[in-house]
Amino acid sequence: MASTVADAIKEHDDHHGPAKGIKRWLFTTNHKDIGTLYLIFSLVMFFIGGAMALVIRTELMQPGLQFVHPEFFNSMTTMHALIMVFGAVMPAFVGLANWMIPMMIGAPDMALPRMNNWSFWILPVAFGILLSTLFMPGGAPAGGWTMYPPLILQTGDAFPFLIFSVHLMGLSSIMGAINIIVTILNMRAPKMSLLQMPIFVWMWLITAYLLIAVMPVLAGAVTMLLTDQFFGTSFFQAAGGGDPVMFQHIFWFFGHPEVYIMILPAFGVISEIIPTFARKPLFGHDSMVYAGSSIAFLSFIVWAHHMFTVGMPLSGQLFFMFATMLIAVPTGVKVFNWVGTMWKGSMTFETPMLFSLAFVFLFTIGGFSGLMLAITAADIQYHDTYFVVAHFHYVLVPGSIFALMAGAYYWLPKWTGYMYNETAGKWHFWTSTIFVNLTFFPMHFVGLAGMPRRIPDYSTQFADFNMMASIGAIGFGLSQLIFVYVLLTAKKGEKATDVVWDNPVGLEWTVPSPAPYHTFDTPPGEDVIRSHSHSSH
């Protein structure tokens, strides 16, 4: 019996190389192929969303209306956010998860490889539908990515397309998240304990849980919008006993965990990179896990800090203010641990490390402005100003995006088998860092001075800082072309060794560079796992 089963497996088991041509990418069940698809897709979306950001910054370069119609400007802010959140940052981290998690836990592939393929191939459909709304009567959605009613109900023909594209994004995320959880819990090398897992894997485990918990809630929220619009329900209509504010509560119950969905994997990437280039084990390995879990828990009970101005009982305002401030504690633990890892380390500053260092510093700035916004009384002044824009762009651009760049540079030699162009990488880093600060730092000032967000025009007193921000944005956009150059020349450098860096920790460095199509046919043993973990367990 055993031999016939083994034969049957050989017959069905796909242990040969990839299929040829387009079929490889359409039908693939390989985690590396699907990871590559995710990463390329997210890069394309990053440039489309970036182009929309540049339309916004071009319009805002000077006071007064110059280039685009205000309605189109609003479409740009809405679409920029939807594309960057759901199309660029989230798929990029899923791409990293696909590539790295099986290799980091000694697994051959994801647990549910066909569903993995579907999770990816839903995304082009979702974003094809979303982008097509740009050409529809009434234009693309312009009510903000948060889709607050009643404003969003004024969207033209684009409205149902917006709702269903959000449904599809959710479907893709949920399937991807289920796959990641099952992979980590069931495909992990049997000798690897949970606390021996790399922090990147841990942060993704937590993120995947958040995704499954909140994406269905978003689906519910937009379904209620759809039925309010087309089927006469009264969820968000006061006349029928509903409440538009209720949408905000449901949306932000999704929305706040969502922001941690975009940053926890970034924490994971940074926690992998800093020990490598500080040449020290990660400081406080276990506390990283506990801090990440605490952040995930707290993310469910802070949502109303996004809506302090809409009206809620005082007790609610106080609760959400203090709960929000609590998040600074586990986040502080993480920042402390990164700094502690670097303390007295033998540091070198290759591109991934530079991006990671900038992440620690600049993300923390975004965290601090978040603390300011958490104070209810102050937030009533800051709400819907450019200070908020500055805050969340600091955590998302030099936060999430920089972590993605750091991860891409860190693992690129493992993916391609060649060292990338370090000089170009450093140029990419320095130009990005300078321009990202030039773009977003002045927004703090105009925000505190009262410039409202999502408005295509502004008072002349804000002109100088806006000019700076616009120049920074164009510079930042152009800087990303250096990254494209690095990718296009990724196989032109010298051959990478298997370990690539100086004694990096992690199972991914025990396999050849480039990593073979199928990595771990049999799970790695206890000794290998122990010597490739930052954990003391």
Binding site: A2, S3, V5, I9, H12, D13, H15, L26, F27, T28, T29, A107, P108, D109, A111, R114, M115, N117, W118, W121, V125, G128, I129, P160, F161, F164, S165, L168, I174, I178, V182, L185, N186, I212, A213, M215, P216, V217, A219, G220, M224, T227, F231, G232, T233, S234, F235, Q237, A238, A239, G240, G241, G242, D243, M246, H249, I250, D521, T522, P523
Partner: protein, 289 residues
């Protein structure tokens, strides 16, 4: 490298079903959207999308069932499927949580506030003068006109009994499967999906009654919205669950499943219990309280 199935990871071969599914979703979503925007052709595109989705589901599940019957799945794959199903059900729980959340928010926050509670005295006296916060309500604008409430006795109570009974029968079927009593298994499983379809039928009858006799509609303010959205999505899930049970029954008739390995049966049973628990929540909070 060991040749024993249990020591070795299983990786499935390439599949064209996911991309077929994506094509189906594209047709479905574009079709529904166009139809909602008033384009008649959208309806037919939507139907085509449905057809492609059904073709995909049949083909994909068919492939997996075939592979399973050939014995290519080891225990690890079985466990992956189990965990996947559990997390999928968790996502469904959260989907219903959004609508239950809307119900609780409306009952405890928005309706009392429209009636002047908390610091909303002027909301009531200026905007909605004379509105008294009670539940059920169709709001201060009396959206949808006078209506009668759907009480907990009668049909809903019978439906509760039906669904709870079906949870018992599916459990008996499970025990019969493990004990190799195939006759009991077939009977109890058939009983389970028949009870499921009877539930859906009675629910449909209840809807007709609500629309024709009670003037209780989807458009009846927040009460009608929450009532029909919660019971409607639940009914949809019962329908899907009953179809799943029916397919499992067909597989039982073909001799599938062993006392040791019957993941699909268990997954369907879990799903059925989930649908059951949601109903209990619905019965308590929508019909009863």
């Amino acid at each position: 490298m060991s040749t024993h199935a249990e020591d070795r990871y299983y990786v499935p071969h390439d599949s064209h079903w996911p991309i077929v599914g994506s094509a189906g979703l594209l047709l479905l979503m574009v079709g529904v959207s166009a139809w909602l925007n008033g384009a008649e052709t959208g309806f037919w595109v939507m139907i085509a999308g449905f057809a492609v989705m059904i073709y995909m589901l049949a083909g994909w599940f068919g492939t997996v069932i075939g592979e399973n019957q050939n014995g290519v799945y080891n225990l690890q794959v079985d466990k992956s499927f189990r965990m996947g199903m559990m997390w999928f059900i968790f996502s469904e729980v959260m989907f219903f949580a959004a609508f239950f959340g809307a119900l609780f928010y409306a009952r405890n926050m928005s309706v009392p506030w429209l009636g002047g509670e908390s610091n909303n005295f002027f909301t009531n006296s200026v905007l909605w003068q004379g509105f008294e916060a009670t539940w059920p309500t169709n709001g201060p604008g009396e959206v949808g006109g006078d209506f009668t409430v759907m009480g907990p006795m009668g049909l809903p109570l019978i439906n509760t009994a039906i669904l709870l009974t079906s949870s018992v029968t599916v459990t008996i079927a499970h025990h019969a499967l493990i004990a190799k009593h195939r006759g009991t298994l077939k009977l109890m499983l058939a009983l389970t999906f028949l009870l499921g379809f009877i539930f859906v039928g009675l629910q449909a009858y209840e809807y007709v009654h609500a629309y024709q006799d009670l003037n209780l509609k989807l458009t009846t303010g927040i009460y009608g919205s929450t009532f029909f959205m919660l019971t409607g999505f639940h009914g949809l899930h019962v329908t899907i669950g009953a179809i799943m049970l029916f397919i499992i029954w067909l597989r039982v008739m073909r001799g599938h499943f062993t006392p040791e390995k019957h993941f699909a049966f268990e997954a369907t049973a879990w799903y059925w219990h989930f649908v059951d628990v949601v109903w209990v929540g619905l019965y308590v909070f929508v019909y009863w309280m």
